[in-house]
Symmetry: D2
Subunit: 354 residues, 4 copies
């Protein structure tokens, strides 16, 4: 029931601040018997890691994960898996000027109003750095889902600001610097980003996540529906302002005769539902689409106030991603995997093997 | 942790099926001392009630609520509030033909895959009728929020299929048959709906919800962020395929210099954030937008299969809403109020009075 | 997370007051496919029902349960099971004098301090009458456990005030007016109770509960251990002041060479552990022992204060059980069954079939 | 909902194994603004630490805690507090012989039955070493309770095997090697323990915990009663076989005229209730009594089986406490403080300031 815990049976409790000693997670509820090493987790952390191209923040964090518990002789034991990532490249002086000022678009103001106290270094707890423990936990979920059901959870960028990115191939995504499923559009994206950096501005993006090869039957009738829990975890990700499933907002203009996916003895004829009917998986691919807002930290000067309520100008000069969407894909995959694994276990509890 | 319970401290446990003896909810965690009568709840239930215009289902349900517990001499006592609504107009024969068939777009198939057993009468548990207990619980939350903080939670329809509805006035909404904030567009909406009924088809809609006059500080840093919990409850509502907060999907094309809401000594200059920064309320209005899919029950014949996996044609002739969005507004308000009250209590627990 | 909900996966949400319109429960998480009728539940409610002998309260409550949801054509559907019991024999005038007075040993004072408001009729929410919904929910758990694992959950009275009751036979318990496993002691118990009634006083008791035929492996390593959750549910029962498992308080004086149950290829040689090692079931019978305090409502005059803090004399003349322990056995069985079923489902989630 | 998490609002998630790299906890829900340093926590850890006298295990663990998050400039920020304790003196070879054998009285057998896999080094997750994170978390709760309400949570040993220990003075407890409230009995206790070590055997004990200066009103009406949650946390502690509140098992033989605590304008005349009426605190001291079983690890040879089900003799020669009760007092205090703080926050949520 902790606000910093995700999941009901596969539970991820996240801790840490951007510039504190360490960040991490405790993953509870993982079945015993899953082969698991730090390398399995590192693989996913490296996909999210900052500093990998000129289009993302230049902060250098090794993001080396240490497994503290729950694994013995390379296999999970069913007990909580403690995951620790030390912060190494924390330059607190970059942020010293903001302790008293509320950066527009950031959580500075609301944390101050809620807690009175806050850790201002690098955004403290509200930093996107806290997605790393989610990615680490998601690596476990991904591996378990793949091994148990053959489930594949993948994502990609489908839009960068005004530029729609056509889907050409899953094969392109892992090698693409934007996690885009299209190679030929990269020069256009890079030109856009280069101009953006010159402008000292930032931009939004759209990310898609897809889960394939999962059984029908995961989810709950009401409230904790599978789509509801996906929306929860996705909207809970920094910078996300919108979540949709299947046909999403296009459903508004659809007629029932178009939207309702017909079924034949060999399967569904379409997937407007995005793989979920009545809150429960249908066995079709689960398709999720996310709106990511532009990074709030920009070099352009903006109006704000300080703690005393006085007008101040804010300009953010630290190391920031001009488009947080670029590094969002592995995070979104991890979050989707966590929700799916949680519901797999919930379903197994009530309905037996699936 | 029940899948049919909403909220962590203000907890709504929902039970019932469309054509069973009764539906209802147990509302736990409400503070003592709130004046509460069945009339307070009935008011909201009547707003959601079917059969009120020719554009909605003609099923006649009085939806009379009975308070079974938790209220003594007109005041809440702090103990669970049991709410009971008897089903009265359940025509099971209308649905007898579907027990063996999976209606496209409905939960028939997924419930069968999950549970093996299901109550096929009127969609059973997956019926939109189960939103009535949420509305009843939401009436309590609305009253408590209004009394404690002066918070006002309201909603309206902003789009019906292809027809965008301009926002003219909150005053229009309560008397408008579509919960639209514009009187002059009603003839156009009615003409559209009349044609739709003739076609035997259905249509999607877009609903907005707004909460005003709430304090800054509600929400949690990670995972159970206020926006995450709003997304959860909204995507958990039947027929919702998309949820956005503030600028929502428009954020994708925004630049940071446009999106980030500047702050002045007299307040924020814009509300792209939709009242939530870093998962915590800022004190600005919370703005939520929902995509509602078209009703799956249509007269047009569609392809499906039966339990044996054989091809069948499905045509749904019962009493249905051709646009479930029309009755969605009071439900969406109720759900938003429940989440807000839950977070008000959570905030009070950790941070004291707000 | 509601304080009035028991269980994590098999969840019982209890509502109602002693003299309100109704009491009941919503049982969520029950697997689909369990044959279930009102008669199954009524059987257990009738075992708990008041008015069955001269040694218990003479309040006449039919305690007729109505299943409101979650069962279709005699079989559970996996959706929440709503259970309703109308209060019929509520004589509010018996209690009218206590609205302003705090009865010693009762919850009157603490409810008033906590909530400000309270329903004083018959103890309101703190009445032992609220154990009826637990018994109803427990009937479902008992049936599922019996059907799925052959688990048998039984209880008996082992001590009434100063009178220790020898265990002779399980066969005696169902027909014994004290749920005692010994027929020959009944005259002694009846004489004791008759004298007690003449004295206008009450007495404590000791109840044992035993679960047999359950698999090894139910429970969690830390905090939510099986014994911890049993202690939680038992100490949460009205009038319980002590809970022990296996050798219980006798463990204090035991040596390790005596206490630790040795294991042989054909099984354990003793059961000091009470069927639980390290918080997890061993497959041996689970044995629980409870201390039940004497009823607080007695005819003997006692000192107390009223809301104004003034000294008052309190004498309780309503219909009360002089030994609440007498009717406790079916309740204790129900509670144990609920915890076991909850852990059976939790274990199935993490560890697969057991 | 994680099985390794304690509390609903003040949440302690525990991870680690006896001989893994580290143990620790994430403490979520702590209010912001509490002054907190590692020294505050170390103080309590040092009270629990092994190796402090010849009557406890000679394992040498510094048990140095590191605060990883949630504290900034010496004050809590309201975000999760990560606590890390490295294992340093883990002699795995001492335990190598038990990987295949189930030690009587230990969790070896049940972990194996539940998870299939287990970490056998030093009992793995079932080791009493895992109480250290609870003590660390409890130190935070103790400090917050003391600062906010002046609440004092203390404990002592009241019985060691057959030797009852009279209560003489709280002042004696901190300096007493047995946490006994009586200096003159120490020679008798030491003689008993010395003989026990010669015998290679172990012994049980009884521990008392008392909380004073807390407000009336903490707790919930049903199920999550304050006494229920105390019983849960206490029975969840390694080696505890019985929990009682107030008069406890003595209630069985009490009459109502003796047990029910009378109230006068200046307060209660007795405390058979142990400070809790109807599951809610009365403002009187909360008194809890625990039965601790003898350590299962003894030098005396015992019968058991191995994984293959073959008969084996087990003799445990590692470093063990011959009476785990001796080090239990600071743990029990910590657990009681955690439950009280959790309920303080829960009460504040529903009932406002108390």
């Amino acid at each position: 029931m902790s606000g910093n815990t995700l999941g009901k049976l596969f539970c991820v409790t996240n801790f840490g601040e951007s510039h504190g000693p360490a960040i991490g997670a405790v993953v509870d509820g993982c079945p015993a018997g899953l082969p698991l090493s730090e390398a399995d987790i590192q693989l996913e952390l490296d996909r999210r890691r900052p500093g990998t191209s000129r289009h993302v923040t230049q902060r250098q964090e090794a993001d080396q994960v240490e497994i503290l518990s729950g694994v013995y002789e390379g296999v999970t034991t069913g007990t909580p898996i403690g995951l620790l990532i030390r912060n190494t490249d924390a330059r607190s002086k970059d942020y010293s000027n903001i302790a008293d000022t509320f950066r527009p678009g950031h959580a500075d103001y609301t944390y101050w109003r809620k807690f009175g106290e806050r850790d201002p270094r690098g955004g403290g707890r509200s930093s996107a750095r806290l997605t790393a423990p989610s990615v680490a936990a998601g690596a476990i979920a991904k591996k378990w889902l793949a091994q148990t059901y053959g489930t594949v959870v993948r994502g990609y960028m489908s839009q960068l600001g005004p530029i729609a990115i056509p889907f050409e191939s899953w094969d392109e995504v892992p090698r693409n610097p934007f996690y885009a499923p299209c190679a030929s559009i990269v020069p256009q994206l890079e030109a856009f980003m280069d101009q953006l950096r010159k402008d000292g501005d930032s931009i939004g993006a759209r990310i898609e996540a897809v889960a394939e090869n999962l059984p029908a039957g995961w989810g709950e009738p009401l409230y904790d529906r599978l789509d509801a829990d996906i929306a929860h975890v996705m909207m809970g990700l920094n910078a996300v302002k919108g979540v949709s499933i299947g046909a999403g907002f296009a459903s508004i203009e659809q007629r029932g005769s178009e939207h309702g996916d017909e079924i034949t003895p060999t399967g569904f004829l379409s997937n407007n539902a995005g793989g979920i009917l009545g809150g429960i998986s249908s066995g079709q691919p689960i398709t999720v689409s996310l709106a990511i807002k532009p990074t709030s930290s920009i070099r352009i000067e903006r109006q704000s106030v300080n703690r005393a309520g006085e007008s101040v100008a804010v300009q953010t000069l630290g190391r920031h991603d001009p488009c947080v969407g670029i590094r969002a894909t592995p995070i979104v995959e991890a979050l989707l995997a966590i929700v799916l694994m949680d519901h797999a276990l919930r379903n197994r509890a009530q309905c037996g093997a699936s």
